[in-house]
């Protein structure tokens, strides 16, 4: 029969006993504080990194595969022409669409370096020649007007779609129906993209374009002879991405005669890789946490053993007024759990502060979740029970008469 009244009294008494030796109690929980602090900080760094990569990959599209052309050195160019590699081109896209049943669609992208003028002022946005599928594949949407259409592509219409940030910078000139000039072509603005939230750069291989400062134009409007910059392939189902990636690799190897003038980036693969890294990280974390908590736990046990031998007479008194062995065990366990959970709570507060500092000072992404608070707290309670058990058991096994005779 355990009612709240008894638990209250036991907790109150435990607090009193701990407060008898404030400094000693405080020193004994330093190990626990450090351990839980480390656990919380590391968990929140891990979680921050995970959320960042997930959101970056989300922006790239989990069902997408990117084939990017790699700028070649002179030696490589020599080799490429010897092997008759054509460079990244629209035929690659056709081959992939025809060759792989899992492909939903593909978009070709060409980065263009050219001067842009709006009402006489020169601007420096990124210019992308894209097929109409691009907006669909990368989940871009317009707030005004529309994106490039099939007709635009076939008829080579002199039109463009601009990013929200660019439109704002251009003021009145950035409205639909206005024109801007790229080199010597005048293009009318027919669409403005929705504002785009861009994750800060983390991993360069999965960097996301800044769609706020961008101009989209249909292919073949400007005279550019260089290769495609990128082909984005979208796969029908997420489960088919990895296998499709392998087939694309084969197709490209054959088409480019083994010349590696392209790079295949599979966000889903990167996500998998990141999860693997995270698992390694977690194991490392567990080891660190384990060691510091073990050391902390031994400190607690030491203090509890001292407490038991100092309070031999109290144990005798409690036994004389009717405490069972279990009552004594519970009393001392309550004390060690209070100690460790106080340490755990302090460690959590310090850990949260450390995580916030890292975010503010070192610009790291940290995210504190329920789990990252709950786990160290649970650990500290567990340490209290585990390392308090032996001293409590010793106290309980003391012979009441011997304990009472102790002065």
């Amino acid at each position: 029969m355990f009612d709240y009244f008894k638990i209250y009294i036991i907790l109150k008494t435990s607090f009193r006993s701990l407060l008898q030796h404030k400094l000693r109690s405080a020193l004994s929980i330093i190990g626990i504080i450090c351990g839980t602090m480390a656990v919380l900080t590391m968990l929140s760094i891990g979680e921050g990194a995970r959320q960042k990569i997930i959101s970056q990959i989300g922006q790239l599209g989990i069902r997408n595969i990117f084939i990017k052309s790699i700028p070649l050195t002179e030696v490589q160019k020599q080799k490429a022409s010897e092997h008759l590699s054509p460079g990244l081109n629209a035929d690659d896209a056709v081959r992939i669409i025809k060759g792989i049943p899992y492909v939903r669609t593909a978009a070709c992208v060409k980065e263009v370096k050219a001067a842009v003028f709006s009402a006489g002022a020169e601007l420096s946005p990124q210019i992308l020649q894209t097929s109409p599928e691009y907006a669909d594949v990368l989940n871009l949407s317009v707030q005004h007007g529309r994106f490039i259409s099939e007709t635009d592509m076939i008829q080579k219409n002199p039109i463009c779609i601009i990013g929200a940030g660019l439109a704002e910078n251009m003021g009145v000139e950035g409205n639909i129906g206005r024109t801007l000039r790229i080199e010597n072509r005048v293009l009318s603005i027919i669409g403005i993209l929705n504002p785009f939230y861009r994750e800060r750069e983390g991993n360069t291989s999965i960097s996301v374009r800044n769609y706020n400062e961008i101009i989209f134009i249909p292919p073949d409007i400007l005279d550019t002879e260089n290769d495609l910059t990128e082909i984005v392939v979208q796969i029908k189902e997420t489960e088919q991405v990895i296998i499709s990636g392998k087939i694309i690799k084969r197709i490209m190897e054959v088409a480019h005669h083994q010349v590696e003038d392209y790079q295949i980036i599979i966000p889903r693969e990167i996500l998998r890789q990141a999860q693997k890294t995270r698992r390694t990280f977690s194991m490392f974390l567990s080891a660190v946490a384990g060691i510091s908590l073990l050391v902390g736990g031994i400190g607690i046990m030491n203090i509890m053993l001292a407490g038991v031998s100092e309070r031999t007479k109290e144990i005798g008194i409690r036994r004389a007024v009717g405490a069972t062995k279990k009552d004594i065990i519970f009393q001392f366990l309550a004390e060690s759990v209070i100690l460790t959970s106080l340490g755990g709570s302090a460690g959590i507060l310090l850990g949260a502060a450390a995580a916030k500092c890292l975010s503010a000072v070192a610009d790291w992404d940290t995210v504190i979740t329920f789990f990252s608070v709950f786990l160290p707290l649970l650990m500290s309670v567990f340490i209290g029970v585990f390392f308090g058990l032996y001293p409590a058991w010793q106290a309980a096994c003391m012979d009441p008469v011997t304990a009472l005779r102790n002065e």
Binding site: T13, R16, S17, G316, G322, A323, D327, V401, L404
Partner: protein
């Protein structure tokens, strides 16, 4: 109520055996006030601890209210102490971190009663008034005089309304006036039908008891 038959208690001291109690036969009926006297080291405290179920004899039988104590588990004995036995010691034996009220409340923590908290608090307050410590409720033991501490100990022993109070030299550390006040509290308990077994070195104190037994070298002389 209490029947001791052929109680022996031996201690193993390395290779040597020390016999502290030899063949003790003793009967105490409900409502008795018994004093135990005898020289130091004669085994009085040891006997009292056995009577209070804190210790077990090496051999012999101990029937308490018709039950054989030897057969009871440690847990059962603890429960029994909480509900039926009150201890009073020469050195008071109060818990230093608890105040007067909390020390007296202690047996309720271990006695498994159906009593609710307000009722317990009321009983504690009542016994505090009885021993005359109403204005010392929040004091810690270190802030009390010896007589006051012993009154707290008696209040703690009486709060559960036990059948037996076992007292080991309760007046040993007190002057004779304070000792008489303590004995007056024992008399109230005894008059209400309680059983008292009290160890003392003082003839005057022993004369308050209805019966007196003498112990020497682990034996009882009447």
């Amino acid at each position: 109520m209490i029947h001791l038959r052929k109680i022996r208690k031996k201690y193993q001291m390395g290779s040597r055996q020390v016999t502290v109690l030899r063949n003790i036969d003793l009967s105490v009926s409900g409502g008795d006030f018994l004093a135990i006297m005898g020289p130091s080291g004669s085994g009085k405290s040891t006997l009292l601890h056995i009577l209070g179920c804190l210790d077990r004899p090496t051999s012999g039988t101990y029937c308490l209210n018709g039950k054989n104590v030897f057969e009871a588990s440690d847990k059962q004995l603890s429960r029994f102490r909480a509900a039926h036995i009150g201890f009073v010691f020469q050195n008071f034996h109060l818990i230093p971190v608890l105040n007067v009220f909390e020390n007296i409340e202690l047996p309720f923590l271990y006695a498994h009663t159906d009593m609710q908290q307000p009722e317990m608090r009321q009983k504690v307050a009542e016994v505090i008034r009885q021993v005359g410590l109403a204005d010392r409720v929040n004091h810690r033991p270190s802030e009390l005089s010896g007589g006051e501490m012993q009154r707290v100990a008696i209040a703690r022993a009486m709060v559960m309304k036990p059948e037996i109070i076992l007292a080991d030299e309760p007046t040993g550390n007190l002057d004779s006036k304070t000792g008489r006040e303590i004995l007056a509290l024992f008399h109230t308990f005894h008059d209400a039908g309680g059983t008292i077994i009290m160890i003392t070195h003082d003839r005057e104190v022993a004369s308050h008891a209805g019966k007196c037994i003498q112990m020497k070298d682990g034996n009882i002389f009447v």
